[in-house]
């Protein structure tokens, strides 16, 4: 038996979460949360290649919060199996031997549950090494679940045990601390993002959002591409400092975003005519640029962020959606012939690159909060307000009982 946080199906709680959204975090981490701390059986998949992992640190990701707060699109309802133990940013120790990896090996988990893990013949994307695009995430010998942390059978990092397939494991070198290792998964996503962004040499980039996704995106873009000016939209002071530390050329507040991009790219700005500001906001008739950045990244997933991204990308430019996007006016994508690119999880050697980044990048103080599982309400509350509180990544310290 093990202690774990479990997300369960509860229509009233889901509805409540949906209604209150992220606006009332107190409610969501309180009695209305579709999440509970339980003692349950340890997950185990009794098939070759699978082994149990004891999580050391497990990150709280924006997508976890999105699921808990009812912000996740129903599109994903067919791709998860309830109840599940969340947590897909995991650094842990192998509790048993796993093929070539002996028990006790420190590992990070690539959470994608692709064909290899499911024991089915590889689909076309998996054959190409693009496991993050696997077509078989609902079939095979384990329950549906696009990732570890969203699958009933595998458990997740927010529990004392999870079970992981060898194809998902990456051994962690001794030189990498747990605090840095837990960032490898989100960093791998950022590596994927940087590659998907296809930034031209010297090209201008806008990163809308300076949470973990946005900051790591800046880091990866700076390390892996020849991006020129990178402008980051950051809401809070510490985010702005970190963005600069990670390689941003300019940082602007959300309400200055369009102006900042206009200035840096010397674009023309067009504002909706004849509408007072509140009406313009309500009707989505916000200002836009003619000209703009070569590549814009939505690292928030809100309507306003996506709007900013679409409205500040130059004609023929590329808008990259990182994380689950909210609805937005797609007119600029049509009118400006934008390439809209999604970026999901990671593939190829992204984990190896991420491991290197995690070792080298100035990110000692990125993990700002560590909570034992039983203090999950505080942990989620902290994660929900991370930006305001100056934190980038909040984690569960699964070993801790304090």
């Amino acid at each position: 038996m093990m202690l774990a946080l479990e997300m369960f199906r509860s229509i009233p709680r889901f509805a409540a979460a949906k209604v209150s959204g992220g606006r009332m975090p107190g409610l969501l981490v309180g009695p209305m949360a579709p999440l509970r701390l339980v003692t349950r059986d340890e997950p185990a998949v009794r098939r070759p290649g699978w082994a149990q992992v004891k999580p050391l640190l497990s990150g709280i990701c924006g997508s976890d919060l999105g699921a808990i707060t009812g912000q996740t699109s129903l599109y994903f309802s067919a791709l998860v199996s309830m109840p599940f133990v969340p947590g897909h940013e995991v650094v842990g120790e192998l509790a048993e031997d796993c093929e070539d990896l002996p028990r006790g090996t420190r590992v990070v988990v690539d959470p994608v549950l692709a064909c290899a893990a499911r024991g089915v013949d590889p689909c076309e994307p998996c054959q190409q090494g693009r496991t993050n695009l696997c077509n078989h995430v609902t079939v095979g010998h384990i329950s549906p679940g696009l990732q570890t942390g969203f699958c009933q059978d595998t458990g997740g990092g927010w529990g004392e045990r999870l079970t992981v397939h060898r194809s998902q494991l990456h051994a962690v070198p001794d030189s990498l601390t747990d605090e840095r290792a837990v960032l490898v998964e989100p960093l791998a996503c950022a590596v994927q993002l940087a590659r998907r962004a296809q930034v031209p040499a010297g090209g201008s980039v806008l990163v809308s959002g300076a949470g973990a996704v946005g900051l790591f995106a800046v880091l990866a873009l700076r390390e892996l591409t020849d991006a020129g000016r990178i402008t980051v939209i950051a809401k809070h002071g510490r985010q702005a400092d970190l963005a600069r530390r990670f390689g941003a050329s300019d940082v602007a507040a959300p309400d200055e975003a369009m102006r900042a991009v206009r200035r840096t790219t010397r674009a023309l700005r067009v504002a909706p005519q004849g509408l007072p500001a509140p009406a313009a906001r309500l009707t989505g008739a916000s200002e836009m640029l003619l000209g703009g950045v070569d590549v814009a990244v939505d690292a928030v997933g809100s309507t306003s962020s996506l709007d900013t991204v679409l409205r500040s990308t130059k004609a023929g430019g590329r808008a990259v959606l990182s994380g689950m996007p909210a609805g937005a006016d797609l007119s600029p994508a049509w009118f400006r012939e934008l390439e809209v690119a999604g970026t999901y999880a990671s593939s190829g050697d992204a984990f190896d690159v991420a491991m290197r980044l995690a070792e080298q990048a100035p990110m000692d103080d990125v993990v700002a909060g560590r909570y034992p599982l039983h203090r999950w309400r505080e942990a989620l509350d902290h994660a929900q307000s991370a930006g305001r509180l100056g934190a980038v990544k909040v984690c569960f310290d699964v070993r801790s009982r304090a």
């Binding site: 200055e256 200035r263 010397r266 023309l268």
Partner: protein
Amino acid sequence: MTRPGFVLEVDDRTPPLVVHEGEGFRLETFPRGTRVVYPPEAMPGIRDVDGAIRRALLEPVGSDPLPALLFSGMRLTIAFDDISLPLPPMVKPDIRQRIIEQVLTMAAASGVDDVEIVSANALHRRLTPAELKDIVGERVFRSFFPQGALYNHDAEDKANLLHVGQTDRGEDVEINRRAAESDLLIYVNVNLVAMDGGHKSVPIGLASYKSLRHHHNSHTMVHSRSFMDHTKSAMHHSAWRMGRMLADHLKIFTIETTLNNDVFPTNYKFLMKREWEWGVKDQASMLAARRGLAVAPKGLRHNIFQGMRAPYGLTGVNAGETEAVHELTVAKVHEQQMVEVQGQSDVLVLGVPYLGPYNVNSVMNPILATCMGLGYYFNSYRGQPVVRKGGAVILYHPVEEDFNQLHHPSYVDFYEEVLTTSTEPSVIEAKFEEQYATDPWYIHLYRTSHAYHGVHPFYMWYWAAHAMDHVGDVIWVGANRRAVERMGFRAASSLQDALEMASGTVGRSPSITYLRNPPHLIADVR
């Protein structure tokens, strides 16, 4: 004979003194011993204004009479000072209207029919048709504006600029092509302060950025001591070089006017009197004004102040050769505004009023407030600054983070982007000026909307460069703390707090001078 400006030392009997602070004023009790410099009372205005104008045109200095310069078939261009002068705008009819009407009458009599009238707004915003009409009057406006013969100078219209050449110091002289290619350019000026007029009119008012950058830069501004004395001002030296070069290429007939200190309308006349001479009526007016302004909503208060028109009296009108005319003009301005002040002080106190040259019908944003206080008022001296080197300046203004997006779009970016990087004029000039000056969006708004040019906030900041270089401390009373800190200054809630804060710079018993303007004064510091 008018009374000269008065210098008072505050003692136990001195009542609280008026201090302007944006769209309002306060009555401030100054420490004993504070030196208060009052502007001189208004000189009497010329009664027969039209007669004086006619005489000036017919009996110019250093030039043939105007009619002798006019001939059939000639190209005549009349340029005039834009909305940034005078402050506040004068009651109608504007003096420029009266002059232009007489010039046009003489031109018509000489058979001149190729006439264009241009607002010499340099990189200032384009005037609206209503603002143009306000200056030139209904008749001139109706006759010229619909035909496109009355318009704003466009410093970004490359096709209509002419690079006349370079001065011996390599300064580009590029001005309005129509003006440069005219047989005669007549410049109609309103000389409110000694800084204006002379060769500052044509080479600056009708110039492009390429030309203006030679003197509107941080180095020149720091070395202009002061702007009110063209013989000591590096900016004026440059303009004079350009003007003399232009005079070799182009026939310029300068008409300059000087105004008295009658700046407030009847209801606010008390603001021009010394507090200890206020009568019952003045006391009542002051009380009514303060109470009214205290309860008036912000919008109404703004409208009240922006709607003020000054009943200026004309103290002089001179025409002819630019430098000869300007000598007479400066003498007249000095006669009206000069106040003799003995020695410098440790602290200079200034009230920054609601209006400066660049927020007419607009909003005084933090950069303009700084320009007004540390640019214009600080530089209202001759000889040496009122405050000693390393002293402190205390200013009054709310300094709200309030910007007019129509008029000052680049100011917002300057405030958000430039001032968060550095407040050092030479640093921001090197790092940002070119970008802002050539930004296509600002140029677009300057040319098609009513926006100040992208580089304009830099110029406003440079105006304050000399003050920032000279003093050790700048403290704003009653100001928005965030805005003031953004600009590298400090905020205090009261004069006592400000003096306490400045004590590190000037000690606990500093000598204090309060320049009680407006109206304008020039402190002749001996």
